[in-house]
Symmetry: C2
Subunit: 143 residues, 2 copies
Amino acid sequence: MEGFFQRYLSLYRPLITRMNELMSTYELSYSLWQVIFYIKNNGPSTLIDIANNYNVEKPTITRRVHRLEELQMVKQIPGMDRREKVIQLTEAGEGIYQACRKKITALENSVMAGIANDEQMITFQTLPKIQENIMRGGGSKSE
Amino acid sequence: MEGFFQRYLSLYRPLITRMNELMSTYELSYSLWQVIFYIKNNGPSTLIDIANNYNVEKPTITRRVHRLEELQMVKQIPGMDRREKVIQLTEAGEGIYQACRKKITALENSVMAGIANDEQMITFQTLPKIQENIMRGGGSKSE
DNA sequence: TGGTAATAGTTATCCATGGTAACTATTTAA
DNA sequence: TTAAATAGTTACCATGGATAACTATTACCA
């Protein structure tokens, strides 16, 4: 499958740029969206939960959450451990989640124009398999 | 196709990290590799050629080429216009291209483990269609 | 021919993201 | 009760890309 990475990677910038434009109305970027998305779909969460989910380091999530707090899309609620910072969506955050979800879904659809349904499905199912393979293949750390 | 972007994007970091590790032996990263790759496949080229091909701005390519010159993988040859800087691979650059090409192809293969051939092909063909749709969809600039 | 466009490239500066190392505060365990 | 583990933060650095303003050269054209 020579040339696959090139095809995969050359899609990245246009896509992420488009997403960021889409969300700029709400002062969000894709990286911030990820946090909102996670909390919405997994309930109030700790920074560690989020960091583990996205395979990024803690300070990265600390920063994202702080920005979201400034934007008042997210707030801290008491956990059962004074170390933990349990993060939840605010009302505003909920609203913005809905609005962005709609926009993103619309873009997801428009981007599939002219592509057969089964081709969409196969691509949809293949990407996570590739990710599995890469992550199993062992980064320089763990494994 | 809700959730498609998430699947696409969550593959990005592991992949690019893996690529960068792969090439770190030669002090290359994927962004530098792109330049080498382009020159190898299109012959001696100007910065403008390269920038246009990858849809990035000129200064971005200026920097990449300068790094490659430092690494002596690339050199300047006279063009037919004293404004132009025509860039070519050096012998060393050729060698490193070959070495990286092999490594990348091997990774491309290993990453497809357990994925049926036709699924690979469909994914391979679908990605550029999606890219087309995104780029046609008009960034905030042109169109 | 002389002067204005356009073109290729560079420099300086800024922004967005993410990583690492070293730290605090709290909790667990021995 | 002290040592280790855990959650989070802070400070700092690296990468990669964008913009704006600049130089040098070439094209155009009146």
